[in-house]
Symmetry: C2
């Protein structure tokens, strides 16, 4: 395995549309959402670990998830878990991680990837990332993987690439925010638009330089801690300085500013597992077209349901279709799949009505 | 309290239409079905204990429920729990209990009552039963309480009484089996039909004589144990002889034979709590017309549901009406109220598919 390859797993999010399984106490990435025996972060780690050495994988997360990470990824040392003392969006934590890696290995190239997505074809994923890594090692460019859109999804940002050029890797013309439906349809018709999956690759040198150019203040803030990184002084430095960082996304801070970004259309199937419905779509269905995780189901006149329980609980459901049925110890959710985007609102109502302990 | 008054609570049934709460391990009468803090058998005991001395209340049940009875009715001694070593319908156990009571007190009058029905007005119940007890003390008659039918229910047996006679207590003309709908409507039109609630009163002398007259064999079988009853030898006698008894109901064995049966039209509201739907009808509803037991519910576009959980579990339900939603640790049931009679079938399918442990 190439010792210059590094990975940074983003594992600080909550995934509130997966409530009641995903909670701020124990978010989606730490659950076995697919019923495979592995949690999403375990699957993501394994996928990266095929071409990135174990000790070169950092996990970026909140302090409150430190124990969950160490428990679920026992091969990882405490030093590999990079804790954000405050929520400051993606730019600060990526710069911080890049500076840590740069101090270990100035020749490092790194991938930044979400810890909670579904990618089945691990070989295709490894090949695509390696293709980008090789470009990043040779040139001062930022790379991203774009997903070929299968329908005019209005829930994702899009990446527009230049149609000219014969290389696999396309020059990015523009990042586009979540479009309305008409715009999304137009994007698909044009053929040079990809979904932004939030997977980025670059050399540490390139990304640190990009911050130096486009986010001088943030660069100065984190660069001043270089002597502390990967030492006993790091914690104190970060605790004091991290909260001072501007709350800004990597997209806005760097990607929309930079002129040399390339996108590789992914050759693998991808799903962001953003909602119970997208999970339903990815799971194998039983004979009655119900997707079942950790339950034993008797379904009559009931199909198209996403059913998740625990301890192989018996679930008898009759006359109910296209529902999300999620049972955990202290919460039961019975909710129409078509309203899945409203689960965030439900969660807020639950908080207001019954308190935070169930959220 | 009248020392001659005795009660026999029938607590051996399972109530399988209340699955998954009611199971053969822990049937309906041992659950707090109404969410009042008391189980049904506790409520029934308290209702009778207003006019029957504590030590005069016997509980007829299966051996497997002995511990449940003693746990839920701590005021009762082990001797008051009369265990059936085999399922032989109601006649054998009633005769057995009557002989035990007769040996204690030849002047005893007794009520036989189900342990799992709903009767709110305890004073009216006490008054009705006392009226019957007084007749039973004076005359060699069998008495029953009949419920004024509120609709042509095809799920109950009916008691037809003679229209002549001005006394409160009406002479029974005939017991009628569960009718079809047209017949039930006709019964109601005739005005002299009542629902059979399975509540019977008689003196021990009268009922023992009735067995002697109409069920000679059964009488001989149980009478031969008289010297053992209420002594250390009782258990062995019953263990050996009870299984030899004919499997027959008290209705068929005695009531349909006897010529001197009287019925008192009950002055209290009654519900047999036979199904989740009848429980729904009896419970107070929240603002959205959902009946809720041991759950905290957020309902949207959801009404007319019978929702039961445990430990005040949070239940979020959207777009679902007139359903039975029952959640227990290892089983979740989501079932249309209108199909409640099929829950017995569901239970059988569950047994066949997943084994007996959930039934």
């Amino acid at each position: 395995m190439n010792k210059n390859y590094y990975a940074v797993l983003m594992a600080g999010g909550v995934g509130s549309r997966f409530w009641p399984i995903s909670t701020s106490e124990n978010p989606k990435q730490f659950h076995d959402m697919l019923g495979t025996g592995d949690t999403l972060i375990q699957k993501t780690f394994q996928r990266l670990n095929k071409f990135v050495p174990t000790e070169n994988i950092l996990i970026l997360t909140n302090e409150r998830y430190n124990d969950l990470v160490l428990e679920q990824l026992p091969m990882v040392t405490e030093e590999q878990v990079v804790l954000e003392p405050a929520m400051r969006n993606t730019a600060p934590c990526i710069l911080y991680a890049a500076l840590k890696i740069q101090k270990m290995n100035p020749n490092g190239v790194m991938i930044v990837a979400p810890s909670d997505h579904w990618i089945e074809d691990e070989d295709a994923f490894a090949k695509d990332v390696t293709t980008c890594f090789e470009k990043c090692e040779k040139e001062e460019v930022l790379c991203t993987l774009g997903i070929k859109p299968s329908f005019p999804n209005t829930g994702f940002g899009y990446i527009e690439f230049e149609k000219t050029g014969k290389s696999e890797l396309k020059k990015v013309a523009q990042f586009r925010e979540k479009p309305d439906y008409a715009t999304a349809k137009e994007f698909l018709a044009q053929g040079n638009f990809l979904w932004n999956a939030g997977i980025f690759m670059w050399s540490v040198k390139t990304i640190v330089n990009a911050f130096k150019n486009y986010q001088k203040e943030q660069y100065n803030l984190f660069e001043s801690g270089t002597s502390c990184y990967n030492t006993g002084d790091e914690r104190a430095f970060i605790k004091e300085n991290y909260p001072k960082a501007e709350n800004i996304s990597i997209d806005y801070a760097i990607l929309e500013q930079s002129k040399s970004i390339f996108v590789l259309p992914a050759t693998f199937d991808w799903n962001d597992l953003g909602t119970w419905g997208s999970l339903y779509n990815k799971l194998d269905k039983d004979a009655t077209e119900n997707a079942i995780v950790d339950a034993r189901v008797l379904a009559q006149d009931a199909n198209g349901n996403m059913i998740r329980a625990h301890n192989k609980k018996i679930v008898v459901v009759d006359g109910l279709s296209d529902y999300i049925i999620v049972d955990k110890e202290d919460v039961l959710l019975i909710y129409p799949k078509e309203k899945e985007q409203d689960i965030k609102k439900v969660l807020n109502t639950v908080k207001d009505t019954f308190g935070n302990e169930f959220a």
